[in-house]
Subunit: 344 residues, 2 copies
DNA sequence: ACCAATAATGGTAGCGCTACCATATAACGA
DNA sequence: TCGTTATATGGTAGCGCTACCATTATTGGT
C-alpha cells in the first residue's frame, strides 16, 4: 500500500461525516452550503455527525472545486494608521456578517510593493479586491482586469477605476479646507506634505495650491517631511514652519497625525494655537476633537468607506451589483478651536 | 463534450506553461517552488513561459496538494487600536519577507467571537495562528491542539500556552506602574478600567490593586467605562475621577487612549496635570510622548511583539523551532511630565 | 389512473497542483 | 571498463471538495 504523504495528518473529511450520518458526501456538502436543499431530518443528522467527528469544512478544497475562495483581498498603504485601520474595521464587519475572510497586504505607500502585493494575493484567488487608494501601476491594473476579479478602489477619485469605486476627492477636500481657512481671514497658509508622497498626498497638495489660487492668496509655502505617520514628523513641521519667511498665520497639514504633532510641538515651544498660528489637519481622527485646542480637520467617513466598499464588493461577487459602480462619499470641513475667525 | 463548469474562466495553468516551455508540469512546479532543483537553462525557459502566458501560480491548488497554505491567521480584538495594529505591522513585515500572507479576524474583545473566528479560520488551513492575547475558550484551545497547527499567543502571560508565547505580564506591568507612582509620592491612586473587560484588562486592574497593597496605600478606587478604545471614554473617566471622594492625586488608566482622553479633558476643565492630578497610561503610544504635558506610560514593544511572534511562528512552521517556546519581552515604565516627583 | 413536473439524493469527474516514485543521465572512483 | 552513487526530469495518483448530470421519490393535474 502506498505510504501516507508527508505532512498529511489523519484528517476528518466529508466522507467520514457522510459515513457517520449515513448519507452521501454530496448531501453533506449540500447540508453545509445550501441547507435548504436538504430535508430537515438529514440536515440534522449531518450536523450531528459534524459535531461528533469534529469535522472542519476545508475551504481550500472547496475553493478549488467551486472557484469561490470566500476571501477578499485588502491592499492598503499601512495598517498603522487609524485612517486605514478604521476602514479595515468596516470591511471586517461586513466580511464577518457575510462569511468571508480578509487577506491583508501592506504596500508602505510604494507602487512597487503594491504590484508585488496584488501579484501575491492574486495567487490566492480571492473573490475580490478592496484597495485603499487607487491602483497606481498600469501592470497591476491589467493583471486585475485579466483575472476578471471584482475590485473596489476607495479613498480617492480617479478617471478610470479598474472596476468600482468609493470616491471622495482628496483634491477638492484640501481645496475646500484651504478656502475655509482663507474665509476665516487667514492670509498666509502654509502646507505640510510629504516628499515623494503617494497620489493622495500629491492631490491634497494640489488642492491646497488650487485653494490659494481660488482665493487669490500668496504663492504656496510648502514644507516636506519624510514620514507622514508619526507625530515626530509633526514636530519637525512645527520647526520648519516657524522658520518660514514670511511667517505663515496658518498651517494645513496632510493629515491629522502631522497636524497634532505640529500643534503639540508649537504648544511646547510656547506658541499659542490658534493665536500665533492656526492649525488644520486632514482625516477626522478620534483625537482631533479632544485635543486642547481641538483640531480643525477634514472629516472623512473612514469606517463607512470600508463598510460600503465591502458591501459593494460582496454584491458584485454575488452577482447582485453591476461593475463600474461609483459611489461618492462626503468629506466635511470641521472648524474647531485650532483655527479661529480672524475677521470677527 | 462536457460543458464548461459554471464560473470557470479559461485559465492559464501549469500545464500550459509546461507546454510553452517544453518541459513537464513537474519541472514547472519545481522551477517555481525550488528553483535550485532545476537546471538554470530550464529554469529560464520556465520563467520566460510564465511571463509569456501571464501565468499566476494557484496557491489554492498548491495548498490542497501540499498541505501548506502559506497563510498565517491573525486573531486580534480590534484592528482600530495602534496597540494591535503595530503588532500586525510587525507580523506583516515578516510574512512578506518570508512569502506568507495574513488572514485576519477581529474578536471585538469577545470570547464568543474568538471561538467563531478561530473556527472560521481553521477551515482555511492556515500554516499557523498568531493570537493577540491568549486563547480564552477551552473549546477553541482544544480545536487548535487537535488541528495540530502551530500557535503563537502574545501580549500576555499564561500558565499554559497552547503552543508558543511571546509574553509580558500585564499584571506585573500595572503593578510596577502603580508602585512607581507611589514612589513618586502619590498617595491616592485611582484606576480607570473597563467593565466586562478581557483578560488583559482584568490583569492590569489586578496589578494596580497589588501595587497599592505592596505599598500599603489606600483601598482601590476604580472607575469603569464601557468602551476602552475611544478618547471620549477618557473624558468620562476624567469626570468620574474628579467626582471621587476622597479625591485621588493620581489616575492610572488601562491604556493610553483613555489616559490621553482623560488628560485632555482635565485640561479642558481647567485642572492642571500633573499639579491637580497625575495621569499615567499603558501602551507607549506614539502620541503619549508628544502630548503637553507628555504622558507617563508603560511602554510595550508593540511592533517587536508582532515581529517576534511571526518569526517564531515561521520557524515553527518550517520545522526550525520547537513547540512551547516562551519568549519574554520587556515593558518599560516611562515617567514623563504628566506625573511628577512629589517628594522632591 | 396515468403522465408531467418538481424535489431530494447519489455517482462521477474533475478543480490545478505537488508528493512520491520511476527513470534517465551525468559524475565518479577503482 | 564497469558498476555506484548523485542529479535532473517525468509520470501518476491523489489532496478534499463541488458542478453536473442521473436517478429516484413525490406531487399535482386531468
Amino acid at each position: 500500500m502506498r505510504q501516507r504523504r508527508r505532512g498529511s495528518v489523519q484528517r476528518v473529511t466529508m466522507s467520514d461525516v457522510a459515513r457517520v450520518a449515513e448519507v452521501s458526501p454530496m448531501t453533506v456538502s449540500r447540508a453545509l452550503n445550501q441547507p435548504d436543499a436538504v430535508r430537515p431530518e438529514l440536515r440534522e443528522r449531518v450536523q450531528e455527525a459534524v459535531r461528533k467527528t469534529g469535522y472542519i469544512h476545508d475551504r481550500i478544497a472547496s475553493a478549488l472545486a467551486s472557484h469561490r475562495s470566500g476571501m477578499i483581498a485588502v491592499i492598503l498603504p499601512t495598517i498603522a494608521s487609524s485612517m486605514f485601520s478604521d476602514s479595515v474595521r468596516g470591511i471586517s464587519e461586513v466580511a464577518r456578517a457575510r462569511g468571508a475572510q480578509i487577506v491583508l497586504a501592506e504596500t508602505n505607500y510604494s507602487v512597487m510593493e503594491e504590484e508585488a502585493a496584488v501579484a501575491a494575493l492574486l495567487g490566492r484567488r480571492p473573490d475580490g479586491f478592496i484597495v485603499i487608494g487607487t491602483i497606481q501601476s498600469e501592470r497591476t491594473r491589467s493583471q486585475l482586469v485579466r483575472a476578471a476579479v471584482p475590485v473596489v478602489e476607495t479613498w480617492d477619485t480617479t478617471e478610470e477605476p479598474v472596476d468600482s469605486l468609493i470616491a471622495f476627492s482628496n483634491r477638492d477636500a484640501a481645496q475646500a479646507m484651504t478656502e475655509a481657512l482663507a474665509d476665516l481671514g487667514y492670509q498666509r497658509i502654509a502646507f505640510a506634505g510629504v516628499a515623494n508622497g503617494d497620489r493622495r498626498a500629491r492631490l491634497r497638495e494640489e488642492g491646497y495650491r488650487a485653494g490659494l489660487t481660488a482665493r487669490a492668496l500668496h504663492a504656496p509655502q510648502v514644507v516636506y517631511v519624510e514620514d507622514l505617520t508619526s507625530m515626530r514628523s509633526g514636530a519637525l513641521v512645527a520647526d520648519m514652519v516657524t522658520a518660514l519667511a514670511p511667517q505663515p498665520d496658518a498651517l494645513f497639514c496632510l493629515n491629522d497625525v502631522l497636524a497634532a504633532g505640529a500643534l503639540l510641538a508649537l504648544q511646547r515651544k510656547g506658541l499659542r494655537v490658534p493665536d500665533a498660528l492656526g492649525v488644520a489637519g486632514f482625516g477626522g481622527f478620534d483625537f482631533a476633537e479632544h485635543l486642547v485646542p481641538s483640531l480643525t480637520t477634514v472629516d472623512v467617513p473612514r469606517y463607512a468607506i470600508g463598510h460600503e466598499a465591502a458591501c459593494v464588493l460582496m454584491d458584485r461577487i454575488e452577482g447582485l451589483a453591476d461593475a463600474h459602480k461609483i459611489s461618492r462619499t462626503e468629506f466635511q470641513i470641521c472648524l474647531r478651536e485650532s483655527t479661529r475667525d480672524i475677521i470677527l
